[in-house]
Symmetry: none
Subunit: 205 residues, 4 copies
DNA sequence: CATGAATGAGCTTTCATTCAT
DNA sequence: CATGAATGAAAGCTCATTCAT
């Protein structure tokens, strides 16, 4: 099956380039990244990049638009089939985020979206549509569940599920900026956050 | 008074260049910013930039290291001379942040620190030392006050005053990324946050 | 044989660039030379220079460090296999110098070494080690031979073979400075020099 | 006499600038020299240079065209009123050259003429007319005197008095290029040269 | 006269993109 | 498909020259 083998090697090539691109873009930012470095890191010639991507910008856009779906799926599944106190659900979601985003190169993707997004409207829109709004919908459902179970008061978190996310965002940004000289204890931060969200410890007051 | 006049015009020139640099760096990021554009926007020749700043990087570092002190002073004063319910104090602090940061070019400075800081350790350290750690100290004092007055439970916010800031950070990032097509109601978000922080409405339960 | 062809074209390119660089550096000196001119003269784009040389300085150093060995070889061979009166040998050496240095672009290399050497210690040392000290050694051997054959008196030329070279150096400098309006009859100068060196006409007194 | 004082201070200023210019041009060459450095070294503002010299090139031309006459006068006087063996006269002339040129900043002027002359025809012509041809005339007279006294044979040195100068030129160039790591014993070189010029020790054979 | 801030043309160097092999 | 030499349009930075003070 030479066709199959060729297609696979194609996919591999492309994946290697994307991995190298992530390294370089994450370290340098879009403008300062050099395709020479991407090619060298991917082990291909510079011209080869253009067989897979139309331009530097295209490579960048493909890179930051291809990595979010699976995590979101995990979140969605977790919430849909949830049972037990919501505070435990929140802890599980945070753990997934820590493990699957903060603990992987995905955090670099998110940082790139934050840093470069304003100059790449297509990327910002894609992320809002495919990641942010879906994630917020899941979290809003979560808030509704907690309210229905009497675990939280008011509709603040239903209307602004962003408040679930904010400390995770902060952890991600802190990590990139200050962790070399002022590391942040992320699990403790998230635990504190859960304490704030569920003042009565997650049980009905 | 020619000496005096010359010194003043010097300061003006420098301020004009910094203002132009903020425009250009905020829009393009550090690497993609062109000093030609900065000079044109400031109404000076390219060479003039180098009479005031040693290099592009120097200009950038001076720009992001010169704008935070006054706001912090406001916050500190407010907390020190506070009276009344802490929730109102928090509302006032948030309002200051919205007015003095989100509502001004300062938000662009902060965004630049977030985006470019990882490549400029000097800037990250400066901001951590001069802005972030001081701001967190103020917020921690605020949390202690609220706990002392019985307005919040636990020490989560004392240990992690970051949780006060997180939604403001989120608002700032959202604004830069998504506001053109998905604006965020920041006052409502902050009000919701206050509801979460002070579930009993800011009075002792 | 595409590999072979590519390597050859590589060498050709490099040689073309070096030839163009010699033209431009010789005419303008190092500092005033423009790489634009080098590129144009070599028939390549400006960026191509940097595929072969790391910088303007590198190009210059490679240029002045790559052209002396063959001539020295000729001199050495001539002296080693000499027979007949030394004055004829000197005449032959001078003729080689006139033909191979004064009559070619090599004289421009030497002039560049003289003019720019003080600012390029690496070049000065290279030339002293590879060219000057070897050349002087050959000339000292020549003086020893003449003394052994009773053609000259004293050891002045053995200790200072520089005295053989001095008029050639003068001819080279005169040529660059004054020849447009006051040409120097170099063969006559060199003949006069031989008369001085061998007052008895090259035969034992 | 304010007029006189002003005129003197004018001359001083000009002399300071020329001295500073010599420092900078000698170290950097014409093209690489920066008028900023000249002004700083002279202790004047950059604009002041233009009150005394029309341009960088004008400053350079004035600098290298103002320093030769007195030395030539000494040579001329010495030869005109000579008595005793010519070899002693030659030794005296060489000593003057060593003292007044090699031992002073004048050697830097000469080196500048050699290095930059090809790009400044006005300078080359001036030096040929005012210095070189006059100096050679003196040396030719010297050679005639030696021949008349039977101290040398042939007319080689009468026709090419350059041969007197050549070792001095070599010493000057050697000094600029190689002396840091391979110093040349100039007095010994010149003594050797006299031995070659006067093989019988300066007495009639 | 003297100053030095301002100018802007011009320099070296970089790097996304192309294309002959 | 893959290569990597070649391109050339910028970009950052310099510095001789000018001129308002």
């Amino acid at each position: 099956m030479p066709r199959r083998a060729a297609a696979e090697s194609q996919r591999d090539r492309r994946a290697e380039i994307l991995a190298a691109a992530l390294d370089v873009f994450a370290e340098q930012g879009f403008a300062a990244a050099r395709l020479d470095d991407v090619a060298a890191k991917a082990g291909v010639a510079k011209g080869t990049l253009y067989l897979h991507f139309a331009s530097k910008q295209d490579l960048f856009e493909k890179l930051v638009s291809g990595e979010a779906a699976p995590v979101l799926g995990q979140l969605e599944g977790l919430v849909r089939h949830a049972h037990g106190p919501t505070i435990e659900l929140v802890a599980a979601l945070q753990a997934i985020f820590v493990r699957e985003v903060l603990g992987t190169r995905r955090k670099d993707i998110v940082r790139l979206v934050i840093s470069e997004g304003p100059r790449f409207p297509a990327i910002a829109q894609f992320w809002h549509r495919e990641v942010v709004s879906k994630g917020l919908a899941v979290l809003s459902a979560l808030a509704r569940r907690a309210a229905a179970r009497g675990e939280i008061e008011g509709d603040a978190l239903v209307r602004f599920p962003h408040l679930f996310m904010a400390p995770l965002l902060m952890a991600m940004i802190w990590d990139g900026l200050f962790s070399p000289f002022a590391p942040l204890d992320v699990p403790a931060l998230l635990q504190a956050h859960r304490q704030v969200l569920f003042p009565s410890g997650g049980t009905k007051p």
